[in-house]
Symmetry: C2
Subunit: 392 residues, 2 copies
């Protein structure tokens, strides 16, 4: 019975944040932000007493209100995970079945799969050299009569060229949706990125700075979208007497909502610590030939979700993979996010990458990117090791 589960567990362990306690000196790329259990216990007592454990409970409503305020966006609706949020965002705009959605191959699998599962077709285009987000020129080159939307990704928390993308969307009457999984709390020119485009989807997975273990948020600048999203998230049920549209179950329960309320109190402190860590990484790594660190532009308030470096092997003399292995020998586990890119997946291998270059830049970038451990558990001793490994 369950014969395959052992092998599956082994495979999945590689994907999961692991402990950083004294017994295990390993350092992983992320570490879940978790509230004090004593604080959580108070909420649990409240939930257990009310016996209202899911279905738009009071903590769910309170968390949505606080997130709406924090992100300065009228519509902010919780989901059980970001992927279901993406699937609902794509349904929100009633895109024609089988139509093309232009997106980037340099992203987590959820972006492309949510398009496919919804009966739409992902069309992959190149990224910019500047910050590895979707290249507006490539987007424009990919548009056909069958295109219905652009699903752009603020990849690594780098913010897309919204001005160019929204001009293209307007010109070609396309919907513009943002996968903002890595960009919680970011602003662009002082404006919350949660208000950009037609809708944005955030991930609250354990690997994200602000997390609810699993979870997600769908935001929109339009208050009128609330009812449609509510229905899409809850089986199209308007009330006991009426089911008005097709919908699935995207609800977050009260226990995870409580974790969200508590983590929201911890968020800015952890973000500041990571910002300081980013500064330390920059000190250590800047000026190494062939190591490109991703700088935050002046007009962006960084989500501090990832710390990304790119290794140019021709200049640096060794590859990204060499560096990753060298760090692992010191028990520091960096990640090659987002390797493989979508067009490397078995299911999308025949899909081209549309680019205005002779060769898509993403094919070069995917071999160069490395995300270093980035959370408040990274200590000076770890930084020293990173420095030594990078500088040999």
């Amino acid at each position: 019975m369950l014969g395959n589960n052992h092998a599956l567990k082994i495979a999945s362990q590689k994907k999961t944040p692991k402990p950083n306690n004294t017994a295990d000196s390993s350092l992983y790329v992320s570490r879940p932000l978790l509230p004090d259990l004593s604080r959580l216990q108070e909420y649990l007592e409240q939930i257990w007493a009310s016996q209202w454990v899911t279905n738009n409970g009071s903590l769910h409503i309170e968390l949505e209100k606080r997130l709406s305020n924090k992100l300065k966006v009228p519509t902010a609706m919780l989901f059980n995970n970001g992927t279901i949020g993406l699937m609902v965002a794509l349904k929100l705009f009633d895109l024609p079945s089988g139509s093309d959605v232009i997106t980037t191959p340099m992203t987590f699998a959820a972006t492309a799969h949510s398009i496919s599962w919804n009966g739409l077709k992902p069309v992959f285009v190149d990224v910019t050299e500047d910050n590895l987000t979707i290249d507006p020129e490539a987007v424009e080159a990919a548009i056909t009569a069958n295109t219905s939307a652009i699903l752009a990704v603020h990849c690594y928390g780098c913010i897309c060229d919204h001005e160019a993308l929204s001009a293209i969307a307007r010109k070609h009457r396309l919907k513009l949706i943002y996968d903002a999984a890595h960009a919680f709390g970011s602003t662009l020119n002082g404006q919350s990125i949660a208000t950009l485009g037609g809708a944005s989807v955030f991930s609250f997975h354990a690997t994200k700075l602000f997390n609810t273990l699993e979870g997600g948020l769908l935001t929109s600048p339009n208050a009128a979208d609330q009812e449609t999203i509510y229905l899409l998230r809850n089986f199209g049920i308007r009330d006991e007497e009426q089911v008005v549209s097709v919908g699935i179950n995207g609800k977050l329960n009260e226990v995870q909502s409580a974790i969200g309320l508590l983590n929201l109190e911890l968020f800015e402190d952890e973000r500041l610590k990571r910002r300081a860590l980013r500064g330390r990484y920059l000190e250590i790594l800047k000026g190494i030939d062939g190591v490109i660190v991703q700088e935050t532009p002046d007009n962006v308030d960084n989500s501090e979700q990832y710390f990304l470096v790119r290794i140019d092997p021709l200049v640096y003399g060794k590859t990204r993979d060499d560096l990753k292995v060298a760090l692992e020998a010191k028990k520091i586990y960096a990640r090659k996010y987002f390797h493989p890119i979508c067009t490397d997946y078995e299911c999308y291998r025949e899909y081209p990458i549309i680019s205005v270059r002779e060769r898509p830049y993403v094919e070069k970038a995917k071999k160069e990117v490395l995300c270093l451990p980035f959370h408040s558990g990274v200590e000076n001793r770890h930084l020293q090791i990173v420095r030594d490994v990078f500088r040999r």
Copy 2:
């Protein structure tokens, strides 16, 4: 900001189990089974110490193992809710896009919507007079060249006519999938219903006897399905280097897995209490002309999820709705599950109900069904009120 949320909350309150404490003497149709918080606290400390909060963690694996053993089925895989489990079950068999899936209109919205969201077409057929599950004769009448599967529902925990349905599925080379949302722990002729057909999906929503707040389980008699389901549930990711298929995020986190492990210890005791309650209801309600109680056949071990009565207004003299209102006046909140039926929804209103009768039986049944409060919080004083209201 969030202008609609107040109204939405009001609407959703109607859908949600509410407290049964001393201050509020209201009695609702369900009450979530919840473990002792002190026991849960031990698990939370363990999860917080490991910092492994989701992605196939050790509690998730342990709960799947115990459920596989309990339900005597080789493949038992957890989901974040039953709807996502249904969507994955439908993908498991690679049904042709746009093909017809025959199902019952007398079910919760998730059944039909999971078919629609997956790009398939629900075809609604009549139910049997005997136990309100899908009518095999109507199924056979509904089959066309475009039919790919039957999604049958063990509605109210009544078990479908599996022998007839599997013969039809075999004869017409259709996939047979069970929505077993209400039938956790049921057996048919001593055989776990989790092993019937190609796959079964259970709901672990708070309204279900065995619950994980939100959650679900996909079972299959084939151990070989484990890997496919694993991939469909986790973005098609095989390992750090390989994404092999389209998949979404159906993972259950460790906190909910812990609640599941604890509730599994409480399950049989609560089920026995409900079985005794069923006996009391039968004593009170049997012999009232026009009140039909749903009896459990000898060859079925009942899940004890719902207690269903049918009110024939021509014989009883009053309608189901009259009774519901009369109970509400006494603060006893029965539910007209599954009203509205799917063909009453705005999105399926144009869909016919295929039947071998002159008029679909389900159109009569939907006006007669009433689910009474059914959990260990129902006391003698409540039963006395129910008795008085029913017997006037």
